[in-house]
């Protein structure tokens, strides 16, 4: 899956920007994958939480926001030309930002 300069290898679950591998913890990778699968469209907060946490995990209310903001910072630092938009009360949306 590719978007901007970002590419994501679903089989090996690896993200890279312009050929340079991006070092991401497992949960951030899961968030990124879920957003990429519906790139350009809204991903509901609840389905992101489902993708990232298994049933046993205890979810802290702002844990997802933390993952998103870290992911945002790393993508921007790597100049991936993608942006994660938050839609308050609904969820998140990943899109190309030229």
């Amino acid at each position: 899956m590719r978007l901007g300069r970002l590419s994501f290898d679903v089989g090996n679950r690896e993200a890279s920007v312009g050929g340079q591998p991006l070092d991401l913890p497992r949960r951030e990778l899961l968030v990124l994958e879920a957003l990429l699968r519906r790139m350009g469209r809204t991903v509901a907060r609840s389905s992101l939480e489902e993708a990232v946490y298994s049933i046993d995990d205890e979810i802290q209310s702002n844990a997802l926001d933390t993952h998103i903001s870290r992911l945002r910072r790393k993508l921007s630092e790597a100049q991936a030309d993608v942006e994660i938009h938050s839609i308050r009360g609904v969820g998140y949306l990943l899109k190309h930002s030229p």
């Binding site: 469209r41 809204t42 308050r88 009360g89 609904v90």
Partner: protein, 456 residues
């Protein structure tokens, strides 16, 4: 229009019935009197009173205390008129005087009736013809005397008039009054009961409006005389329904047919290389396409009332906000959704409500000034609102923007049907739509519904 005073069936009935009763009674009484008089049973008796009146002023006493009868003109007239004129006058001292041929039956009867003030002596109906007589004690110049006399001669008109008046006053008038009173009380009750069914039909007719199809007035409780009117109204309603259905089908078909050539045009234009004007041409075609879609939506909304179920407007708000978020973000807006409650149910059609909210958010995207936040909110009891940070809608235009084909901004992609469709949808859901100003001066459009219990 001239003001026509509707006449009251009730009072017309009362007047006519009372009049008829009075006339019939009067005729009947007159006929009865005439028949009795003709048979000689009733009024003929009255002529003796005229004789007694004539005698009253003709009786005196002579020097010996005997009763004498002077031949006054009145008495002479009575004698001339009556075929068989007779009378017997006596007092309690045993003096008596008589004239004419006294019938055998009455020759001595006066002696036995000293204690009787007055009496009519006669026969039973069915007995052979016998003479009748009248006995009466009266005060005269000769003191109190008893007069016994027979019939004969004419009855004075005054007496006939008096007798008839008495009959009318004592019999006909009270009966007429009684019957009129009964009519007065009974008629309004009968009329009201009979026409009660009409009230039902009228109540049903009140509910008929341009959106409801298939309404008919109930015939069950309507009196048979008024059934033709109600049936005719029902037939007219059926014809109107058919006409309306045809009209609706035509509009839906027209809108639908319009979409196909527009879609083909759109595809062909996209495959052409039109150079620098391509964008504007495609925009024009997109506008045409939107217009056709909105026309179709408008017509479809009218046909969806029977598909209403219980729907959650919080879920609808979240879904539509999510669906339109890419568009809003692409146009440099932030979009947010907030709800005071987890779920808010209204009775309605999911598709139509999504359509209405989509239109509101699309409007906000188009006219919201390409900055700030488009906020979708669900509030109690059951309100969905869309607020933007744009220039807002001037208060003078807040009613007119709902009119079909009214466009606040002369240019733009819209056909002026978006808000009209929203209004139609909200009305179909028994709700209201209103425009106000957001906290930053932008437009705030609220759709207010009636909350429903969660049922299905």
């Amino acid at each position: 229009m001239t003001d026509v005073q509707p006449h009251s069936l009730r009072w017309r009935l009362v007047r006519r019935l009372a009049g008829l009763q009075a006339a019939m009674l009067a005729v009947f009484a007159l006929l009865a009197v005439a028949a009795l008089w003709g048979g000689g049973f009733l009024i003929s008796l009255e002529s003796e009173d005229d004789t007694i009146d004539a005698l009253r002023n003709a009786i005196f006493r002579d020097a010996n205390g005997e009763i004498v009868v002077h031949d006054t003109p009145a008495l002479a007239r009575r004698r001339d008129e009556a075929g068989n004129f007779w009378f017997v006058i006596r007092d309690r001292q045993g003096h008596s005087v008589s004239q004419g041929r006294v019938p055998l039956e009455y020759a001595k009867i006066g002696d036995a009736l000293d204690g009787i003030g007055q009496a009519r002596l006669g026969w039973n109906i069915g007995d052979g013809p016998r003479p009748t007589a009248r006995l009466k004690w009266i005060d005269t110049a000769a003191g109190q005397v008893q007069i016994l006399t027979g019939p004969g001669g004419t009855v004075s008109w005054r007496r006939i008039g008096l007798a008839i008046s008495t009959l009318f006053l004592s019999v006909v008038l009270p009966v007429v009054a009684l019957m009129t009173l009964a009519t007065l009380i009974a008629t309004p009750i009968v009329v009201r009961r009979t026409l009660a069914g009409l009230g039902l039909a009228a109540a049903q007719a009140e509910k008929i409006d341009v959106d409801g199809r298939g309404a008919r007035l109930p015939l069950e409780a309507v009196p048979s005389e008024i059934v033709p009117l109600v049936s005719a109204v029902n037939d007219a309603l059926r014809r109107l329904d058919e006409g309306y259905e045809r009209h609706q089908r035509f509009l839906v078909d027209a809108a639908h047919e319009l979409r196909t050539p527009i879609a083909i045009l759109q595809t062909r234009l996209e495959s052409l290389s039109l150079g620098p004007d391509a964008g504007r041409v495609l925009e024009d075609v997109a506008r045409l396409s939107t217009l056709a879609d909105q026309l179709l939506d408008l017509q479809r909304v009218n046909q969806q009332v029977d598909r209403f179920s219980s729907v959650d407007i919080v879920a609808i708000g979240r879904k539509v906000a999510a669906d339109l978020a890419p568009l809003a973000i692409a146009a440099d807006y932030e979009i947010s959704f907030e709800s005071a409650l987890e779920q808010v149910y209204v009775r309605g059609d999911q598709g139509s409500l999504e359509r209405a909210l989509t239109n509101l958010i699309q409007n906000a995207i188009q006219y919201g000034g390409r900055k700030g936040v488009i906020a979708v909110r669900v509030d109690q009891p059951a309100t969905i609102s869309v607020t933007d940070d744009g220039p807002g809608i001037p208060s003078t235009d807040r009613e007119r923007v709902f009119e079909p084909f009214y466009r606040l901004h002369g240019r733009g992609r819209g056909a002026g049907l978006g808000l009209n469709l929203v209004q139609e949808i909200v009305r179909r859901h028994d709700g209201e739509v209103a425009i106000s100003e957001g906290p930053t001066g932008g437009a705030c459009v609220r759709m207010m519904f009636k909350p429903a219990q969660r049922t299905s």
